[in-house]
C-alpha cells in the first residue's frame, strides 16, 4: 500500500501574542496535491495560521513541516518551496507589473528573470498592462499579478490568505478560474477564507477554525452548501 505523502504537517501548534492566544493545539495534515480550505470568522486565527506556514512568524509551541522541511530549522528552504497569496498583493505600487515580477523572480534566483516575468504576466492575462504601474491597476488585476508573483518560481505549495477580499463579481470569477488552473497543476494548496461559497466547491478537504482551534474537518465533496453552512454556524464560536 502506497504511503500518502504529506506536504503540510501542523502538529499541536500554538501561537500567542503576549497574553492573547491566537492559535492553540492546531493539527492539520495536507496531502500532496490536495486543496484544503480553512474556514473561520474574523479573528479565528486564519491569518496567523498562514503567517506561521509562510515563515513570517514562529510558533510558540508545536511543529510545522512543509515538504519534509521543518520551518524552524530550514526556513529558507521552505520559502523556496512555497508561494503566498494574501488579501494584500505584496507588490510595489510604484513599479510596473513587469518590474515587480522581474524583481521577485530575481529574489528566487530564477535565471532569465525578464523572460520568466513575461511568461507569468501572459499566464494571468495582464499582457496589455505589463508596463503600467501597479497603483494604476484595479484590485482584481493586482490580485492576478499577485498570483503571478506567488508562482513565478513554480512552487509546489501555495498558501492563500483570504484571496477573494475586495474582489468584485467579475474579479472573483476570474480569480476562481485561476485557482482551478492552479489546482489542476497538482500543487498543494491551503486557502483560508470566511466565504463558504468560494472554498467549498473547489476543495478536497475543509476545516473550520474557531477561537484558534480546529473544530471540524471533512471531505466536502457531496456536501451541499446550505448543509455546510449549518455545520459552520454550529461550530463557530462568536
Amino acid at each position: 500500500m502506497q504511503a500518502v505523502e504529506l506536504d503540510i504537517i501542523v502538529e499541536s501548534v500554538a501561537k500567542s501574542y503576549g497574553n492573547f492566544q491566537a492559535l492553540q493545539g492546531v493539527d492539520l495534515r495536507v496531502k500532496r496535491g490536495e486543496f484544503l480550505t480553512v474556514f473561520g470568522t474574523n479573528g479565528a486565527g486564519k491569518t496567523t495560521l498562514i503567517k506561521l506556514l509562510s515563515t513570517l512568524t514562529k510558533p510558540t509551541s508545536g511543529k510545522i513541516t512543509l515538504a519534509n522541511h521543518d520551518i524552524k530549522k530550514e526556513p529558507d528552504k521552505v520559502r523556496s518551496l512555497i508561494g503566498v497569496i494574501s488579501h494584500d498583493p505584496y507588490l510595489y505600487e510604484n513599479l510596473s507589473a513587469i518590474e515587480n515580477l522581474k524583481f521577485f523572480a530575481s529574489l528566487y534566483g530564477i535565471p532569465q528573470a525578464e523572460e520568466k516575468a513575461i511568461e507569468m504576466i501572459k499566464q494571468v492575462g495582464l499582457e496589455s498592462r505589463m508596463h503600467d504601474l501597479v497603483r494604476t491597476l484595479s484590485r482584481g488585476m493586482k490580485q492576478r499579478l499577485a498570483v503571478a508573483r506567488a508562482i513565478v518560481h513554480d512552487p509546489n505549495i501555495l498558501l492563500l490568505d483570504e484571496p477573494y477580499t475586495g474582489l468584485d463579481q467579475h474579479g472573483s470569477r476570474i480569480f476562481g478560474e485561476i485557482l482551478k488552473l492552479l489546482k489542476s497543476q497538482t500543487r498543494t494548496i491551503l486557502m483560508t477564507t470566511h466565504k463558504i461559497e468560494e472554498g467549498l466547491g473547489i476543495s478536497d478537504s475543509v476545516a473550520i477554525l474557531s477561537g484558534g482551534r480546529i473544530v471540524y474537518e471533512c471531505d466536502p465533496r457531496g456536501v451541499e452548501i446550505e448543509r455546510f453552512k449549518e455545520i459552520y454556524f454550529e461550530k463557530v464560536r462568536v
Binding site: 529558507d76 520559502r79 523556496s80 528566487y108
Partner: protein, 222 residues
C-alpha cells in the same frame, strides 16, 4: 549579491519616480544650513569651528528623515512581506536596504556640499576628496544603525518620533568623531591629525554594520 542589487535597483527606481525621500531630505538639509547661516553672525574665526558641526547636523537630520520613510514605504500595502516570504537571507535584505538608504543620503550630501561652500564661503581646494571620504565613513555608520532602527520603528504609529529617539543616542560617537574629522580636513590638515576620531569612526562602522546585519532578522520577525 544579485539579490542585494535587485533591492537597491528597486528602491532607486521607486525613488526616481516618486522623489519622496530626496525632496524631503534635501529641503530639510538646505533649511538647516540656511537658518544657521543667517541666524548667526559667524566671524572668520568661528566658521572653522562651527561649520563642520552645522554640516553634520544637516546631514544627520536629513538622513534620519529619509530613513524613517524608507521602511514606511515597504510597509505600505505590505510589500515587504513579499520580500520576507522569499528565500533571501535577512542579512542580505539589510544590506540591500542599507545600500539604498546610503545612496539616497549620499546624493543629498553631495548636493549640499557646494551649497555649504557657498553659504559659509569655504574654499575646498585640495580638501574635497578627504572631505568626501570623511562624509562616506560617517554616513556609513549612521545609515547602518538607521536602517536597523527604521525597520524596528516602521511597525509603530509613532515611527517618525521614535526613530530619532532610538538612533541619536547610538550615533553620537560617530557623529562627534565625524565632526572632528571634518574640522581637521576643512582646516587643511591631514586626516591622520585627527587619528583618534578616525579610529572611532572606522571601528563604529565595522562593529555596528556587523551587529545590525545579524540582529536585523529578529527585528523583522513578528
Amino acid at each position: 549579491m544579485e539579490k542585494v542589487w535587485a533591492i537597491v535597483l528597486k528602491d532607486i527606481i521607486t525613488e526616481l519616480r516618486t522623489k519622496e525621500l530626496f525632496s524631503s531630505m534635501f529641503t530639510l538639509a538646505l533649511l538647516i544650513i540656511v537658518i544657521f547661516n543667517f541666524a548667526f553672525d559667524f566671524s572668520s574665526e568661528l566658521i572653522p569651528v562651527a561649520a563642520p558641526a552645522i554640516l553634520w547636523v544637516a546631514f544627520t537630520f536629513a538622513g534620519v528623515l529619509g530613513l524613517s520613510r524608507s521602511f514606511a514605504l515597504e510597509k505600505e500595502g505590505n510589500s515587504i512581506l513579499g520580500l520576507l516570504v522569499s528565500p533571501m537571507d535577512r542579512s542580505l535584505i539589510f544590506l540591500g536596504k542599507m545600500i539604498s538608504n546610503a545612496v539616497f543620503v549620499f546624493v543629498v550630501e553631495l548636493i549640499m556640499i557646494p551649497l555649504f561652500v557657498l553659504f559659509f564661503n569655504y574654499d575646498l581646494g585640495n580638501t574635497l576628496f578627504p572631505l568626501l571620504l570623511v562624509i562616506f565613513l560617517g554616513t556609513f555608520g549612521f545609515v547602518s544603525v538607521g536602517t536597523l532602527f527604521s525597520a524596528m520603528a516602521s511597525s509603530t504609529r509613532l515611527r517618525e518620533v521614535l526613530l530619532p529617539i532610538l538612533i541619536f543616542p547610538i550615533i553620537i560617537p560617530v557623529m562627534v568623531s565625524s565632526i572632528k574629522l571634518t574640522a581637521a580636513v576643512l582646516s587643511g590638515n591631514p586626516i591622520s591629525q585627527a587619528g583618534a576620531a578616525l579610529q572611532v569612526v572606522v571601528s563604529f562602522d565595522i562593529i555596528f554594520f556587523v551587529i545590525c546585519a545579524v540582529v536585523f532578522e529578529y527585528v523583522l520577525d513578528e
